[in-house]
């Protein structure tokens, strides 16, 4: 009941004209940037960070939430009409959506995807409302050793669950931790890795690292391998669904979130696994198995619904535990830190207006997105024809704006370029980018909690594992370290059915 009251208060915050405006701007920008080929949700959120610098936190995060969900809505348009998914979560949408578009059913594919996102987002956000306060209440007493355990969990999760090579994931994490070390030591004020530079003494701003790795690194990598003949987008009319289509898809829309939400909340790589599992489930349950691979509408509806629900699940662990499980959550965590707000169990107590306003605006954003996407899909689809030189020049341009806006320093632009070149190298040699970003964001905090915990226990290592919570989390860490064996089973199954 308590959370229902808080949610109603949240709607009071979200429905003020200014916040409604920020939500609308957020979903518009998010959809537009999500539709643009080559830009996934993480880069969209990183590029749009500077837009929020002038806003107060509540408005900024309401806009952010709109960008996040909008980018997911827009991303499926790209997969269906271009058949070139930019991110792993959109791969499944292309498998069935693109054949549908090719056989003249693009409008139905877009509608099934849009309603799927809406249903998944709605159900996922309702689960967020129900679960998040409970999780936060359970975790509210946690101390330094518990926080450290959570961060270790995040480190291990991003390095060993994501990507194909653990060594490369670990290398990426260590590079991130190193960048996080630059600057004054928080406890003694000693300069570390600053090489006497005054500007480096402030440390490297997290936003610059995120924009450098996600935006500059990606733009330079694409520039090195630019496809000279861009894929042709399939023209499409206004999305609509016939009665027969709705009869086939409504169960898929409802099943998707059941798979997507739990996978979003745990550090298992975001939407990639749940969209795939949802696809397999729909294929198994469908009465039209022969259509799969040639444009089965259930294969669009279920996975898209699962993807949106997993985004809501991501927010549960991000808001209540401060644990980012996806790249977008990592960038949002960085944004919270910009405002001096630390997501975690205390967030719901300390910033109820912000949190509940944010959650309420997710519902508002979802309605706005459905209203925007169904009638305007043909307009959004026009964005697919943007000339690639303009697209990537624009990414560099806005990345530069963002990095400069952080502190008004030209040196930040040079650091941004250097980090972008690191990002380019990482893409060339298959080092995943996410562990580095998580390392920069959580590294300094983890060090502080480690030193605090050991100060309390007077240097005894047992001080790190003296609570049930931390022991539980370390048990999960051990489980994750044995995950490759389990993963092999999943991958084998995936290869059989794909």
């Amino acid at each position: 009941m308590d959370s229902l009251n808080s949610l109603i208060d949240g709607f009071g915050t979200a429905l003020t004209p200014m916040n409604l405006l920020w939500a609308a701007v957020g979903v518009l920008l998010g959809t537009a940037i999500g539709v643009l080929p080559g830009i996934g949700p993480a880069m969209a959120v990183a590029l749009l960070l500077p837009v929020t610098y002038g806003l107060e936190p509540t408005g900024a995060f309401i806009m952010f939430a709109g960008i996040y969900y909008g980018a997911m809505f827009g991303g499926s348009t790209t997969s269906i009409l271009l058949n070139t998914p930019g991110e792993s979560a959109a791969v499944v949408a292309a498998i069935e959506g693109n054949p549908m578009a090719k056989t003249g059913r693009g409008a139905q594919a877009l509608a099934a995807a849009a309603v799927g996102h809406f249903a998944g987002g709605m159900i996922g956000t309702i689960l967020l409302v129900v679960l998040a306060p409970t999780v936060a209440a359970l975790a509210v007493d946690i101390g330094a050793p518990d926080y450290l355990a959570l961060m270790v969990l995040a480190f291990i999760a991003v390095t060993s669950v994501l990507g194909s090579s653990r060594i490369r994931g670990l290398a990426s994490l260590l590079v991130g931790l190193t960048i996080g070390l630059v600057g004054l030591d928080q406890m003694t004020g000693q300069q570390r890795l600053t090489f006497g530079s005054l500007q480096l003494a402030d440390g490297v701003d997290v936003v610059i690292v995120a924009v450098g790795l996600f935006a500059i690194g990606e733009a330079l990598w694409v520039a090195a391998h630019l496809r000279r003949t861009a894929g042709e987008a399939i023209p499409v009319g206004r999305p609509w669904l016939g009665g027969e289509d709705v009869k086939r898809t409504w169960k898929s829309w409802l099943r998707g979130p059941l798979i997507g939400f739990p996978f979003g909340a745990i550090p298992a790589g975001g939407a990639e696994i749940p969209t795939f599992l949802s696809y397999v489930t729909e294929k198994r349950l469908s009465k039209h198995k022969e259509q799969f691979g040639k444009g089965a509408i259930e294969g669009v509806a279920g996975p898209e619904s699962a993807a949106s629900a997993s985004a809501a699940g991501t927010l549960v662990s991000m808001l209540t535990l401060g644990l980012p499980t996806t790249a977008v959550a990592a960038v949002m965590l960085a944004a919270f830190q910009q405002y001096g707000i630390q997501p975690g169990p205390l967030l719901f107590e300390r910033e109820p207006d912000l949190v509940w306003g944010l959650i309420a605006s997710l519902f508002v954003g979802m309605v706005l997105l459905l209203a925007l996407n169904l009638p305007l899909a043909p307009v959004w689809a026009k964005l697919l024809r943007i000339p690639r030189p303009y697209l990537y020049a624009g990414i560099l341009f806005f990345a530069a704006v963002g990095a400069y806006a952080v502190g008004g320093e030209a040196l930040d632009l040079v650091i941004l370029l250097v980090i972008g070149l690191i990002g380019l190298g990482m893409r060339r040699y298959g080092l995943p980018v996410l562990p580095a970003v998580i390392g920069v964001i959580l590294g300094p905090a983890a060090e502080q909690q480690l030193r605090r915990a050991l100060q309390i226990s007077d240097g005894s290592v047992t001080g790190l594992v003296n609570t049930p919570f931390s022991i539980t989390v370390y048990a999960v860490v051990v489980l994750l370290l044995t995950w490759p064996l389990l993963r092999k089973v999943v991958v084998r199954r995936r290869n059989v059915s794909a």
Binding site: Q190, A223, A393, G408
Partner: protein
């Protein structure tokens, strides 16, 4: 999923066209009878195929740097609490050295990082580093120019230069779009969103 692995495979095969890839550790031992020039060619191909070893070297250097920095911290101040400012850097530095060695071993055993695929990425073509260098140059020029000439001018040059480097050759349309985008961004950020950007002499005139 399948397209990703196919395209990386094809990139690998383009760079492994010479038979040098067959030797796993020695590299030069099997070509003792061959002439010096082919040995050189084989050696170059051997290195090209294992260019990822460079990543290991960089990680090693970075680890050494972190360790050196940690060990030269002022020891007198480190006494506060059982864990001083040098502890975590020491752990990270050692971690980097270990990972550098493990990664190099993995590469020598034939492991390769998969180059990232994407919507506009064509991995079947060899990398076009000229474009990347041009873009980096344009970006550095922006960093140098933003102070003296202000954001609207420097930003327009950045967009125009980047579009040119990426292959756009519309000599009337490109600068117009660049100028409009830069000016619009300046107005929106500086005036509407409250994010200050330097106007430069041009804005002083207007």
């Amino acid at each position: 999923m399948s397209t990703e692995s196919e395209s990386t495979e094809s990139e690998n095969t383009t760079s492994v066209s010479t038979p040098a890839g067959s030797t796993s550790s020695g590299g030069t031992t099997s070509v003792s009878t061959a002439s010096v020039s082919t040995r050189k060619g084989n050696l170059a191909a051997w290195w090209r195929e294992r260019s990822e070893l460079g990543v290991g070297v960089l990680l090693f250097v970075l680890g050494a740097l972190v360790l050196t920095d940690a060990l030269t911290l002022d020891a007198d101040l480190a006494g506060r609490g059982p864990v001083g400012p040098a502890t975590v850097p020491l752990v990270v530095g050692c971690g980097l050295l270990v990972v550098a060695v493990l990664l190099s071993v993995d590469v020598l055993r034939g492991g390769r990082g998969e180059a990232e695929a994407g919507e506009d990425v064509d991995l079947t073509e060899p990398a076009d580093w000229r474009t990347v260098l041009l873009l980096a140059g344009v970006f550095l020029a922006f960093a140098v120019l933003i102070g003296p000439v202000g954001f609207p001018v420097a930003g327009a040059l950045l967009f125009w230069g980047a579009a040119y480097a990426l292959g756009s050759r519309h000599f009337h349309r490109d600068p117009l779009i660049a100028a409009a985008l830069s000016l619009l961004t300046y107005v929106v950020f500086d005036k509407l969103l409250g994010v200050p950007l330097p106007g430069g002499p041009l804005m002083g005139v207007i």
